[in-house]
């Protein structure tokens, strides 16, 4: 019974693959061939990436002219199709230039595509890429198909073999392993990375809400030839709509606002300073990244360094928002590092907290928080938004959405909206955010020393943030006449509410009647505001 089922599935896969192959991929052979470029033309354009030449009858040919070879990363267009302007055609990685995407500048009909324009092929200067014409009218009417395709079994079988992932991986790995490995074998490694993330999420409980979609997104995006993360693929489109524009992290921030109680911060506002002190982690890691570049171990630009530093903000949406604006190519690694370390807060923080405090200090009991009236809680989000509007409009998207969510929660008259923001909406967006972040986990961007640097610096950022938070806690302990427990400084690194719970736990270890949870929530939520402000400053300074 079981083998029958398997057989049926196999047959279905075969048939669908054959159908796909004969209909979608088997375009007509290139009928328009382009003339080769003259030596003079080649020399003239040796410092440009491409050159477009009019070859008569309204047809133009595009050549690759950069004086060093390039590798074709992906091709996402077909012969005979008409595409709109700005449509992605292919991604090239020319030697001594950054990897780049070729796009149409205006609506064009692709007439023929060069033989070398295939994923993983190497282009030399003078190679013909494609010919196109600019149509004046676009229509979708088609002739009736009168010509019967003569299908041969051998051809079908070859096509089928050529359309398998195994063939693609073998072909890529055989052809120039050194420069192509991340397009072939690298995909397998990244699928394995995706499975490791799934394992951590499911069996070890590491931020499962995010790492399950991210891990599976990594697997989907690395399927050979399917192009799920390409311009026409589901994850590629979702990434474009939600993350490149910065929309998803902001919607999540609104949900976070609708779930956060700022009461402890309003009751004891001076603990907000602890939330500020812990942001040293962000800038400490930034300087660490610059230092690594100066030493020459790993190369990071200042924008990349800032995106790495924001891991120390311990705030997923903020990290994704800033990275998508400053260094989108590092998004996968930074998101994975940020969420993994947030899950590891209960392991990372306690040793540092104990290192910087004495047993006596950890036993300090704090007086109970005063009652916060509803009117205060309603005024708070509005006032903070206005403060941000006047002082730091760059942080306004993040803080504005956070405060809007919070106002919906506190005002009590739009319960339906606040429920949607903190439940359904945040869940829907989390699914797509996770999947599309996962789709950025490709071998070329992930399997390198930069990722190693990001993981090390991210950890350092958490440690520095916790340390400076606790040290500033010491200052406040001294200034307040030993009334503030320095432990609550560690909660300043956002990671709501995990960090506050850790503070509570460490406090209970030395004094079983010392409940610091509510006191730690103050610096904890202030940390969220603090890291959003830091992100705003970095955005302002570096864009």
């Amino acid at each position: 019974m079981r083998s029958l089922k398997l057989l049926l599935i196999a047959m279905f896969v075969f048939v669908s693959a054959v159908v796909f192959n004969t209909t979608a991929l088997a375009g007509p052979d290139a009928t328009v061939s382009a003339p080769t470029l003259s030596e003079q033309e080649l020399a003239d354009h040796a410092n440009n990436l491409t050159f477009t030449k009019d070859i008569g009858n309204g047809v133009k040919a595009v050549y690759y002219t950069w004086h060093k070879p390039a590798i074709v990363y992906s091709v996402s267009f077909l012969e005979g199709q008409t595409y709109n302007g700005y449509r992605e055609l292919m991604i090239l990685s020319p030697k001594d230039r950054s990897k780049g995407t070729l796009r149409l500048s205006a609506a064009s009909k692709i007439i023929s595509i060069g033989k070398l324009v295939k994923t993983k092929c190497q282009l030399e200067a003078g190679n013909f890429l494609y010919t196109y014409s600019v149509p004046t009218v676009i229509h979708d009417s088609k002739e009736k198909d009168t010509q019967a395709n003569d299908l041969k079994f051998s051809v079908m079988l070859t096509n089928l073999w050529h359309s398998t992932g195994i063939y693609d991986i073998i072909r890529t790995t055989n052809a120039d392993f050194k420069s192509n490995w991340h397009l072939g074998a690298g995909r397998l490694i990244m699928m394995f990375v995706g499975i490791v993330l799934l394992y951590l999420a499911i069996f070890k409980g590491f931020e499962p809400l995010l790492l399950v979609p991210i891990g599976f997104g990594a697997i989907l995006a690395n399927i050979p030839m399917a192009g799920i993360d390409g311009p026409d693929g589901l994850l590629g489109m979702v990434y474009y709509v939600g993350i490149k524009t910065g929309v998803f992290p902001l919607i999540i921030f609104m949900g976070v606002g609708a779930m956060t109680d700022f009461g402890p911060l309003i009751a004891n506002p001076k603990t907000a300073l602890l939330g500020a002190a812990a942001q040293f982690g962000i800038f400490g890691a930034l300087i660490g990244a610059v230092l690594l570049t100066n030493v020459g171990w790993v190369e990071f630009t200042l924008k990349e360094a800032a995106s790495i530093g924001i891991i120390g903000g311990a705030d997923g949406p903020t990290s994704i928002y800033l990275t998508s604006k400053l260094a989108p190519h590092l998004l996968g690694a930074i998101a994975v590092a940020a969420y993994s370390y947030m899950a590891l807060v209960p392991i990372i923080q306690p040793p540092i907290m104990k290192l910087f405090t004495t047993k006596e200090q950890r036993k300090v009991k704090m007086t109970q928080l005063r009652h916060v009236s509803k009117v205060e809680k309603i005024c708070f989000p509005v006032a903070v938004t206005l403060l941000c509007a006047f002082l730091l409009p760059d942080a306004a998207p993040l803080i504005g959405m956070l405060m809007f969510g919070n106002l919906m929660k506190e005002c009590g008259v739009v319960e339906r909206l606040s429920n949607t923001a903190s439940n359904d909406l945040i869940n829907i967006v989390t699914i797509f955010l996770g999947l599309s972040v996962g789709s950025k986990l490709n071998a070329a961007a992930f399997l390198n020393f930069q990722t190693l640097g990001i993981l090390v610096l991210g950890l350092a950022a958490f440690c520095v943030g916790t340390g400076t938070g606790v040290i500033f806690g010491q200052v406040m302990w001294f200034l307040s006449g030993k009334k503030i427990n320095p432990l609550i400084g560690a909660a300043g690194v956002s990671a709501v509410p995990m960090a506050a719970r850790v503070v509570n736990k460490v406090g209970l270890e030395d004094n079983p009647q010392n409940f610091l949870l509510m006191h730690a929530m103050g610096p904890n939520v202030a940390g969220v505001i603090g890291s959003a402000v830091a992100a705003g400053i970095l955005l302002n300074a570096l864009t």
Partner: protein, 79 residues
């Protein structure tokens, strides 16, 4: 390197400044709304009960933990 330290000074300065102003703001609000603070209190308790569920839950947990600790102390004193 210099740029890094510059960013750090600028960033930390801004974060501290923003949160210091926030403290002033919160204290200001507390003083300003004192005369009208009672306005929403009574109906709020009745209306906002389902919304405040999360908060009460964690309070319940703290209460529970306190109760457990008290019982524990009582028992250990008996010995």
């Amino acid at each position: 390197m210099q740029e890094g330290f510059l960013l750090m000074a600028l960033g930390m300065g801004a974060v501290f400044a923003f949160l210091v102003l926030l403290i002033g703001l919160v204290k200001g609000i507390a003083v300003l709304v004192k005369p009208i603070a009672h306005l929403l209190e009574e109906p709020a308790v009745a209306v906002a009960r389902p919304a405040a569920k999360a908060a009460t839950q964690s309070e319940d947990k703290t209460l529970m933990a306190a109760a457990v600790a008290a019982v524990h102390m009582h028992r250990s004193r008996k010995k």
